[in-house]
Subunit: 518 residues, 2 copies
């Protein structure tokens, strides 16, 4: 798209039309300034088909906040809206509504409570609570969902791939298969969730990371086409990058051409006092080839070299490669753990597009309208009880046992004195007959997860660094039971309602049924 | 992300690091200005697991060209590169290379031949040929793949969903689940491939389409929370949009509350001389509910109303809904085709993220280097013959039979006089023993698919409209055999090599083997 058109697509009109048409209804009904609360949550952890996530890593919040701080209705946006027509050719948006948007069409009235980025999160509990004037809180919906759904999806995939790779270096190589400009947010989410570095130059630099990369087949092909061989290509690369020499060895034949040529060049580098970085394998049986390549490297005295594996990797394929190395390497005289320690995983498509589950089903639901100093719960009486939103303003707590393992997330009403209770009743979110009771002595620690991050459009606190988000992720994942972290068929982490919230939910459901019958 | 950082991430540094490090190798070796050719192609039609595409719809080209026309290395980009360091702390990029990029770092030397957007395309044939100086043609790789892979993926999903919906109106509702800013390109691709309209306001307007939408549950919930009911919410909506009144009827209970309330409001509108648009169903058994709702609408004299179906639709679910309507509607006294004619499909997640197959595996391969006035083929000798790129500059032809059906795409060397041949040998791209021979009399028409679109950085011809791309799509799909269009297990469309190209490929493979052995 032309750059002069880009602003129009990324500003306030980065939204679904119905947010604006509904806002006009609220305006006409005098509800547009009424304070309301919406909540963001997702319903199911990603299910990739053959494997499933047991939790998510929350991401996207800070970029959402930056978008909110910088975005308001511009004259150009309002002109677009002024030109839209109804079926009968009238103006879709009235002049007084547009005039109101011109003055009040920003997010300065919005406050947010949110879980911090990088944290482990679970389905069906609010990860963000939005409070503010109805019209602008409604208009926020599309951008909010768009920012959070995608980055949380990718951060979740990244933590899985990192786990499968036993914590070894993980590189994001996904730009070319990303959903166009989504590559930018995808790189960020990958870095939060588990990737150590990315090949994406601009985004890496903006986020404070050096971009990483090797070289592609075209370098070798070019030297072959001009009558020189793979060896010349490797030498040319090594000459310019003697301390970053990482050679792609599968253009012709990995074990008979690529690795021997790489070793020859590495020996030349060594004689000049440089330490080669390693090789990259991008085709064939990566487990077998990495064992054989590493054996050749070791025999030539390059046991410190790394082996970057790439080519359609995902968490299951990486798990399988590692298992195969553990089984096969000893027969080749290689200590499996030593080889695994030198592996680097370059992951593209599957990370940045979250292959197998390409979207997180996050939603944004109205939960309450202000009425004087109090709040009226709003609820959607869905045909499936699981989809019925919990009413009222809630607090989200994480409970830890004596082992410092998280035993469950608990949703309460604001002001419930959890700490003062002798025992806590944890209600299954839907089934009235399922609950459990925890005695105070069983709970070592309770932590509040929702923190205020935006107050009337003003950011509270500093912008956390990506590094800080990663630390949170590591701390949170270390508190998860191994069963919840299983890549396949994970154990279900418990998310419960407090007794009071459970009662309120059912009272509201009964009341709505009455209103509607009358 | 902050807007002031955005340019850095979307300009020339929207690339993988290795493109730049390789470009520096070419620069140091004096190869950077050497004219080369790269080709873009994809290897496999999307396979969504339970169902598979038999072809793709090509999209993304014009936005790629616009990006190329507007993007060059800026001082800011070069400063970033100047600051990057090697492992040993040296500058990663040398001053003379950066100086060269400052002067020559744009796409003014690049020419493109391409298939037009909206056309039906097939695997393993070049959809774009890039010609230009090696360094900049290499640097183009990431952005080119990023633009084309995603839009082609979504346009392909869109044509499938449109086909499943028997050509009825298709609305893109995907923004909230899109891969962040990828929503923008996704909307465009959806509009090319099969969506009639989109809810995405900014992007629709930029592309010349009115955005479309209905309303969400929160409108009804708000009226319920303030003690009024669904009926009041519908009335408020109808009052403002009397000629665009499309009501979401499933907030409480579709058949017992939503539809009766909608009918009441529609009757009020009718009395005032307006024609209501219809209703939207977003949960439950959409086939059953659409039959029952339509029956109620017809009985109230609103048989012209539309029924928008939404909620996790994809091509198989739509097919199933239509089948069920065809079987069940007669028992309810409804003519199935009449109901189907009034359906509108609102598709979100599955369209914009291409659920089931979230990436197209398009690649960009070096095929030739200029040598004086002639070209030397470059080839990657992969371990799998299917992955070995076809050498040389090629032409792509589509052959049609007497029925005006496409019988196959044929890849030839430039200058092969297909039209003069008495019979054409079509070689299987990999298997030497599989070929077929077409007599001239069996071919009614031959069409060249690759056209020059960019000459030394200058656009040739006008920018086609989205409408023109849709016409091409419709013309091309009407020339496909029904078997190729099957949503599940489609018949394989034949893509072949000419005899001369087949011979050249094998000669080059033999020659490369010799170069490498020596």
């Amino acid at each position: 798209m032309r750059k002069d058109q880009q602003r129009l697509t990324q500003g306030m009109l980065f939204t679904d039309l119905y947010q604006l048409t509904m806002a006009q209804v609220y305006f006409r009904q005098g509800l547009h300034q009424k304070k309301v609360r919406f909540e963001y949550f997702y319903r199911r952890n990603p299910d990739y088909g053959l494997h499933q996530a047991g939790y998510c890593i929350f991401a996207g919040l800070e970029w959402l906040i930056e978008w909110m701080l910088e975005t308001k209705f511009q004259d150009e946006d309002l002109e677009v809206l002024r030109d839209l027509r109804t079926s009968s050719g009238e103006n879709l948006f009235a002049a007084d509504f547009l005039e109101w948007l011109k003055g009040a069409g920003d997010f300065s009235g919005i406050s947010l409570w949110a879980v911090a980025e990088g944290r482990v999160v679970h389905p069906n509990v609010p990860l963000i609570v939005v409070e503010g004037p109805f019209a602008m809180a409604q208009i926020l919906e599309t951008a909010l969902l768009n920012h959070l759904n995608y980055q949380t999806l990718v951060a979740t995939k990244a933590v899985r791939i990192k786990q499968a790779g036993m914590g070894k270096l993980l590189l994001d190589f996904g730009m070319r298969r990303a959903h166009e400009l989504g590559a930018i947010a995808g790189t960020r989410a990958a870095l939060i969730g588990g990737a150590d570095f990315s090949s994406n130059v601009g985004t890496s630099v903006v986020l404070g990371f050096p971009p990483k990369g090797t070289h592609s087949h075209s370098l070798v092909q070019a030297f072959m086409a001009i009558g020189e061989g793979e060896l010349s290509a490797f030498r040319a690369f090594a000459e310019i990058y003697p301390d970053d020499c990482l050679l792609l060895v599968d253009t012709i034949n990995t074990l008979h051409s690529g690795v021997p040529h790489a070793i020859k060049v590495f020996e030349e580098l060594r004689r000049k006092g440089h330490r080669p970085l390693g090789i990259r394998l991008d085709s064939g049986d990566l487990a077998y080839l990495s064992i054989q390549s590493y054996k050749m490297l070791c025999e030539a005295g390059f046991s410190e070299c790394h082996i970057v594996l790439s080519n359609q990797l995902d968490e299951l394929i990486i798990t399988q490669i590692i298992t195969q190395i553990q089984q096969e390497a000893p027969a080749a005289g290689i200590h499996p753990e030593q080889l695994i320690d030198h592996l680097i995983f370059g992951v593209g498509t599957s990370l940045i597009t979250s292959s197998g589950q390409s979207a997180l089903d996050g939603v944004y639901k109205l939960t309450a309208l202000a009425e004087g100093q109090s709040w009226r719960p709003a609820i959607k009486v869905s045909e499936t009880p699981a989809k019925t939103v919990n009413p009222g303003f809630k607090e989200l707590w994480r409970l830890y046992d004596q082992r410092k393992k998280a035993v469950g997330d608990l949703l309460c009403l604001q002001g419930e004195e959890l700490l003062a209770m002798e025992k806590i009743v944890l209600h299954h979110p839907v089934d009235p007959d399922r609950f459990r009771i925890l005695k105070k002595s069983e709970i070592a620690e309770m932590e509040k997860l929702l923190e205020p991050v935006l107050e009337n459009g003003r950011r509270l606190g500093n912008v956390p660094t990506i590094e800080a988000m990663r630390k949170r992720r590591q701390a949170d994942t270390s508190c998860l039971d191994l069963g919840v972290k299983r890549l396949i068929n994970p154990h279900i982490y418990h998310v419960s309602l407090s007794e009071k919230l459970w009662e309120l939910k059912h009272e509201v459901l009964r009341r709505q049924a009455r209103v509607n019958d009358s």
